[in-house]
């Protein structure tokens, strides 16, 4: 299926789910509270049959903007793609977890939580993925400040010599 048809099908099944549709980029923004139902539908409906989650990317729209996650879905049966984006406010960022639908999302959601601090509701084991458990802050947020000390060890910020 082409992108407009997929969007039409989603809008028919969930009239209020799609917040906005970007035709040129081929992506659809879905309200966070509807995401779980839409995800289950996209995976199980024989017309869409998105059985593979290729990639899950967290992003930050700047210090004043929203946080978001982009899901790149692929159907191995129909060979079509879809990008779904979920956005969530910065101070209370929560997205429903889809780790039980696509197991790929398990580690990727942990990584997004680690780097952006987005909480994935219903994730079986939401811990930091790459950083140490006692790390403070979420480094890929645009307003992240590099700390002066880590466990009493000064963090070098002087770039002389290598820049």
């Amino acid at each position: 299926m082409e992108f407009p048809e997929i969007v039409k099908q989603i809008e028919a099944a969930f009239p209020e789910a799609a917040v906005s549709v970007d035709d040129t980029a081929g992506c659809i923004l879905i309200a966070s509270e509807n995401w779980l139902a839409v995800a289950e539908y996209l995976k199980t409906d024989p017309g869409t049959a998105f059985d593979a989650l290729m990639c899950l990317t967290g992003y930050d729209r700047g210090p004043e903007g929203v946080l978001g996650a982009a899901y790149n879905l692929y159907s191995m049966e129909h060979a079509h793609k879809l990008e779904v984006r979920i956005e969530t406010p910065r101070d209370d960022s929560t997205i429903p977890s889809v780790a039980h639908i696509w197991r790929t999302a398990d580690w990727h959601e942990r990584e997004v939580y680690d780097m952006f601090g987005i909480t994935f509701d219903g994730h079986p084991d939401l811990r930091r993925m790459l950083l140490p458990d006692d790390w403070e802050g979420h480094p890929l947020r645009k307003d992240y400040q590099i700390p002066d000390f880590f466990h009493g060890i000064p963090v070098p910020k002087d770039k002389r010599g290598w820049e």
Partner: protein, 383 residues
């Protein structure tokens, strides 16, 4: 299959006190700095939890502070066994975002380099898997031949491991004189060697005992976890991005996609994943022969390199087949010379996530063989 079911299926009823065991991060069989937290029941694994991040350099944060061409050397260092493929796929992603066309000769040179690198990477995987199961000799053979590929790379661009060779819009150096002849000589030398590996390792009785029927990954689990590359194909799924979602000029070559057949045991066992790699080397030789024969004689490899790399605003997800599987780059551009956000979807990261699913219920010695068959590189898992 739950843990207890898996144990009963493989070993009958066992009752012993559970023990927590740490394997790694400094352990020769974990292929780098991977730590496995293992709960064992006797010698049988009842739960396994990989801990990663020991090699974390925050590649993605670095990228936000670098211009697009400056990111290329960093992609080298992510998967250090397949640097050319990483360069290739990253560069294709940026070129697609910019809408850049590159000369025919450049496309062919890139594919030649990517396929040579695929053979080199698989040689390492095959040898290391032999090493994991107790065969010390095979890796010396595979290293001997990998060395000849690295010599070809050194002859082309001066570097043996981290190349920074494929640039946005071109490649850093044109092929040196007689490269085609040397590469053809290598292929003539290399093809009979695959038979040698098969006699030495693939059909070795001990190796088969250690890897056949071990760590079976069912096809539906593999798809649901997003496994890709030889791990997915080992489970019997005919899937290769070079053919199913063609990029660069891969649609012009004829080659087969080897898949696991369960020749020695069950479809999707460690042996199948191993053998897919061996047969993929043969397919890469096929692609290389076609590409070397059709390589256009003229063309300036620097002609299409842009003075300034400033992709228009937008986002793109681009993926390609790296020796370990689907390598993807998700790039958000805000129109500036630096990426606003760059995410690397590394195949080994996803392939490792399936590990605890397939290793549960096996003996401690078997998980080494299973891990070897997944062929992970911690540099791209931790990024």
């Amino acid at each position: 299959m739950t843990t207890s079911e898996a144990i009963r299926k493989n070993f009958g009823v066992v009752e012993a006190e559970e023990m927590v065991l740490n394997m790694g991060p400094q352990h020769p069989s974990t292929h780098g700095v991977l730590r496995l937290k293992i709960r064992t029941d006797g010698e049988i694994i009842s739960h396994i939890e990989p801990h990663i991040g020991y090699l974390h350099r925050c590649f993605e944060k670095h990228c936000e502070n670098l211009t697009y061409p400056q990111v290329i050397p960093y992609t080298d260092r992510c998967d250090y066994l397949a640097s050319m493929n990483n360069n290739h796929i990253y560069v294709l992603a940026v070129e697609k975002l910019m809408g850049l066309e590159v000369p025919e000769r450049v496309e062919y040179i890139r594919v030649i380099m990517a396929e040579l690198q695929r053979i080199a990477s698989h040689l390492m995987a095959v040898g290391a898997h032999g090493l994991d199961t107790g065969g010390i000799t095979p890796i010396t053979y595979t290293f001997r031949d990998r060395e000849r590929i690295l010599d070809l790379f050194e002859y082309t661009c001066g570097a043996r491991l981290l190349y920074n060779y494929i640039w946005i819009g071109g490649v850093s150096h044109d092929l040196p004189p007689d490269f085609v002849q040397y590469a053809t000589e290598f292929l003539d030398y290399f093809e009979p060697k695959i038979v040698e590996y098969n006699r030495l390792l693939t059909y070795n009785k001990i190796f088969i005992e250690r890897s056949a029927d071990v760590g079976v990954l069912p096809a539906d689990v593999a798809v649901n976890y997003g496994a890709s590359g030889p791990v997915l194909r080992g489970s019997g799924i005919d899937w290769d991005l070079r053919r199913n979602d063609p990029y660069s000029i891969y649609d012009r070559f004829e080659f087969d996609i080897p898949i696991g057949t369960g020749e020695m045991g069950t479809v999707g066992d460690s042996w199948d994943r191993y053998f897919v790699r061996v047969r993929e080397m043969e397919e890469s030789v096929k692609i290389l022969r076609q590409a070397l024969a059709r390589l256009p004689k003229d063309g300036d490899v620097h002609a299409a390199i842009p003075k300034k790399v400033r992709p228009p605003e937008g986002a793109i997800y681009f993926r390609g087949e790296n020796p370990r599987g689907e390598l993807g780059f998700y790039i958000i551009s805000d129109g500036s010379p630096k990426p606003y956000r760059l995410k690397m979807r590394s195949p080994a990261f996803v392939n490792l996530s399936v590990f605890s699913e397939i290793a549960t219920g096996w003996m401690l010695a078997d998980i080494i063989s299973i891990l070897g068959s997944l062929d992970i590189v911690l540099g791209e898992i931790d990024r």
